[in-house]
Subunit: 129 residues, 6 copies
């Protein structure tokens, strides 16, 4: 497994990102994902800045809705790490147990229907082209 | 490609579902997906009833949010039919071009991050276990 | 799109495979997949021989069951070409419209349940470890 | 990780499903999946009833063939939980070690061929349209 | 289908990106992907700038190797658009027909082996942990 | 979990493959994957021989490039076992930490762009057809 880079041993470019993470999230905890990406500082910076801007920056979708979409994608891509951390993030932003149940219900429904449409090779209706 | 069953030639069990679709959706149009599933009436009924209840029934998530989650899953599963029809459905329920852009942005972000977490085999933080 | 190699223009190594395909399948038709793989003769040979042996050689699963499994995988992987050709192959080996409906029903069910188990990160029961 | 709901603490709607599971499967063991879905009783009921009917109800495919298809889908979707439990279920219904080997062989073959057809963008033969 | 934005009708922010694309690629052709993303200028800019920097900027992997990796991912994700455009891009950067054949061979091999490892739930060897 | 077959208890056909693995790789260590596949000797032989020939045999792509492509596919398919073992294999063949970072960066980029192209249903440009 790739080494996790702690703050104390990090190069300045990585520390700068870590500082921004802690400041933005109002925490002193750095998630394992960032500590692993720190092995490639440019990747760490790019990934963090995008995630920060897209999930927390200005936009027409509220932060919770963004998290639910992110979670649905992570489940669909079989990413256990992201499923775990974004379930937690969604709870922090107000997701109730019932909402989680509905999200999972929709994911399961869509996944099944997706396979039916592909499996039967249903032609797209002219009006939805 | 599997034959599409039109109303005129449908068996009573299929017609009943078609009637419910048209009543529920206030339309006289039956999507190709339903016409294909009609080859296996039990599958048609099950799929329609679930979709109707989950996407339109009572729940804590509003109908538009449900559509956005459904769309995100469909894109992640490479289902072109569902992507086309649920982009249309989301627009009907109020999705603006800007919202679509944000949904796509989140899908792209999450898909990339999902691969990073899996690719580096990042261990789940104890606090997110 | 990659050029399809017809018999008349094929190199001897490719012709040999084409001959084996026609002999094995008792047909004079070569599917597009083989004509495309013929651009890389070693890949054509390997893919054909494996497919011939695994789908048609001796084994404990009957040929139709093998086709249904192959079809289920192809639908899950969003391969339209393989879905089309193996739906046809399964019909040739005895798949009825009703069987196709059941296969699709199981694929849809499993796809949904797969996402639920991953989405909720359900721990594997000790007895199934 | 989401809490697992034991029988003793379950609400009546959940207990009713648990009772049906135990009766149907002739066991006093409830799989972890059901205990997790019990956090959202409607999802538990829907998932259980569908799984019960589709995998065990009347149909033209025998129960073992259904399990093999379910297993092939679960492997293709990278669902470790479902792979583990349905490998066990298939064994219970008669899958031998040799049959498992053949299923895995077909899954691997199809997965590779699926990518070849998509990677080379092979056009679907007119006769399979 | 989402409208494609032509240069003549584009807002200044989009034109700026189009100009950079044409300058960087030494062409006057704008791919359909960019014309579609132009519906959401921020997404267009982000996607273009990342793609430009990662695929063409300084790095230890040569440009052709980068394209082959990009192509392998696109095939694995069933993205026909990206498979088509990046097969073309790889050819421009020196990919021969034989190299394409080898890439496809490796993709097919890995896809099959991936399923075997997941399907049998092979435990990771201590030395590769 | 499927039993792993050790050399001492293996049937002759399996031992022959194990011998070839150890000879080819100049090691006395047999990976868990092979020990599991040994439950189905024909699958073991086929998988080993293909992997040996495709990853190590003659070809126009150098061995490290092959490994990077294999790794990119394994990450895209969410195969943790193959991701772990082929990250190790790539390092053995010369992959530096920086190269790994670039591979991951490209995988993340392509995965995101793949979803954008599919999500917006971008039509393939005539010139890339």
């Amino acid at each position: 497994m790739t080494k996790m880079i702690e703050y104390a041993e990090a190069v300045p470019e990585v520390r700068e990102v870590y500082d921004d993470i802690m400041r933005t999230r109002k925490t002193d905890y750095i998630n394992n994902l960032w500590k692993v990406l720190a092995n490639h500082p440019a990747l760490l910076r790019r990934t963090w800045e995008q995630t920060r801007d897209i999930m927390g920056g200005p936009g027409v979708l509220d932060p919770l809705t963004r998290e639910l979409i992110y979670l649905a994608v992570s489940v669909s891509n079989s990413c256990e790490y992201c499923t775990a951390t974004h379930t937690a993030a969604a709870r922090t932003k107000g997701m109730s147990e019932e909402m989680l149940g509905e999200v999972m219900t929709i994911i399961a429904l869509a996944s099944g229907n997706n396979r039916l449409a592909n499996g039967y090779r249903v032609e797209i209706d002219e009006r939805y082209q």
